[in-house]
């Protein structure tokens, strides 16, 4: 007994080094399976940053190499060149129109994006819940929505431009038509997956179809709806840039395709980074929104 304790203490003093007042509790050294090995916050940050660092270094090296050979090379501009081009667009008024081009582009694109996604979200909520919750509406609309889902939206773009003109309506419609069907189907499925027990219970408490939509279905699908919007924003950006590239006079996608003619990589790359930043911020805001609206769906994780 005593010998055991002694040897245990010996081990501790060996591993803990001399003079340490409180040895850390002995932790069995076992090789865990890959799927069970935890990642600490610090190393998560480090490893998460590595790919970014890798791409940045690769770019800087390639850019420096090309510029060393030919200082007027346009293909891989240096960060300084990109920053000054970006700053020009953001702060120096355009000679012809007097606009600050970056902000005009950003404003125009975001309005189109949010209008399109907003319409799609509203459709997803109203149609999705109706299709998922009410058998008659499901019989009426589900086959149609299912077929619409498989139409490639970009194939509709010429039709929209012909039918609705080259203005904002066609672009917003493209975005809405492009993302809505999938969202409608997803919400309808989510509503159908509601535990039948909950729907039965709501009825035993006197809920009618409308009050159950308000008090049971809507709050239950809210987290899923926000996830849907987050997923839809990817395709929405795609449709936005496609529409702007074809017919527009301002917008982030328009600008990128405009300056492509002059091989202005010093504008294109910062614009792509700017679009990425906008997309990341939107996504982050939606996550926050979900936490605020549906706290029950985001239980506090045990630390």
């Amino acid at each position: 007994m005593l010998a055991k304790e002694m040897s245990a203490r010996d081990e501790v003093s060996e591993t803990g080094g001399e003079g340490t007042a409180r040895p850390s509790p002995p932790r069995p050294k076992v090789r865990l399976r890959m799927i069970n090995a935890k990642v600490s916050r610090g190393s998560a940050l480090f490893f998460g940053g590595l790919p970014f660092l890798f791409v940045a270094i690769a770019y800087l090296a390639a850019s420096a190499q090309r510029l060393a050979v030919n200082p007027s090379d346009k293909l891989l501009p240096s960060p300084v060149q990109m920053w000054s081009a970006f700053l020009d667009l953001a702060t120096v008024p355009d000679k012809r129109s007097g606009d600050l081009i970056l902000w005009v582009d950003t404003y125009a694109s975001l309005i189109r994006l949010f209008a399109g996604v907003g319409v799609a979200t509203f459709a997803a909520l109203s149609l999705g819940i109706a299709i998922g919750f009410i058998p008659r509406v499901r019989a009426f609309l589900l086959p149609f929505v299912t077929v619409v889902c498989v139409i490639p939206p970009l194939a509709l773009l010429p039709i929209l431009f012909i039918a609705l003109g080259l203005g904002e309506t066609a672009k917003i419609t493209l975005i809405a038509v492009g993302v809505a069907p999938v969202m409608v189907r997803d919400i309808a499925n989510r509503v159908r997956e509601l535990p039948p027990e909950l729907v039965a219970k709501a009825q035993t408490l006197g809920g009618n179809s409308w009050t159950m939509v308000l008090r049971l279905v809507l709050p239950q699908v809210m987290p899923r709806l926000i996830t849907c919007v987050r997923l839809a924003l990817g395709p929405a950006w795609l449709f936005l840039i496609a529409a702007e590239a074809i017919a527009s006079t301002e917008g982030l996608g328009y600008r990128i395709f405009l300056v492509r003619r002059y091989l202005s990589m010093d504008v294109i790359l910062p614009y792509v980074a700017w679009i990425t930043l906008l997309a990341v911020i939107t996504d982050w805001l939606l996550v926050r929104l979900s936490r605020a609206v549906s706290p029950w769906a985001h239980p506090v994780e045990a630390r």
């Binding site: 535990p195 039948p196 027990e197 909950l198 039965a200 219970k201 709501a202 009825q203 035993t204 408490l205 006197g206 809920g207 009618n208 409308w210 009050t211 159950m212 308000l214 008090r215 049971l216 709050p219 239950q220 549906s294 706290p295 029950w296 769906a297 239980p299």
Partner: protein, 269 residues
Amino acid sequence: MSRIVVHGLEKSYGDARVLERVNVTAEAGEFLSLVGASGCGKSTFLRILLGQEQQSSGVVIVGDGPIVPEPTPQRGIVFQRYSVFPHLTAIQNLLLVEDFRSGGPFGRVFGARRRNARQEAEAMLARVGLAHARDLYPASLSGGMLQRLAIAQTLLGRPQILLLDEPFGALDPGIRVEMHDLLTELWTEHGMTVVMVTHDIGEAFKLGTRVLVFDKVRHDPQFPSAYGATITYDLKLDRKTRASSHHLAKVAAMVGTTRPETAMATTAS
């Protein structure tokens, strides 16, 4: 508060017959315990009484007339799982009852009616011992607390008939005894008719005024699902039969799961 009459009830899913020739009459205020082997159709029977499903043939009368083929406030239900609304806190779950009852365009009551509902909800919450969990979401309640909340919510709906599908099946034995006491008290206070499915024969004997055993009497070895289960044993419980180990052993043998000794201990608890 309402009687239930079931006559010649049969239920099939496609070719598979689950229930057949089920006849039973429950007087108002009775407490029926339903036992039987797993998968023999007890939950199906309960879902038919609830109105969530319809019988293939036969008559079901609840209260004054034939059963309405959808769930209504006449019949309350507590399931083993999914019994409360996960997006509402404990108190909100109880307040929801009055909101649903009002049926207004906003799905919500306001003003004096809301204040009354709140008082009633708070009182009910305290009655089932959940005052301290008032503002917690179901995800952070224990199994026992969840079922307390579910029973409280169902009772606020003032059902004439209370249906329970293995309500305590997922609880620890100690908690289960507490829940038995609570349920017995509430049943005495409110006097509704209760139909409870349980796999615990001791529980069936302890709580019920009557024990019904569901089992198959006919078998077709070629096609096992050709025949359904029916009520094979119907025992009225009084103080003598309740304490009798003979009846308990008999039912246990029919159901073929619980050991009579453990069941006896539960009944005594």
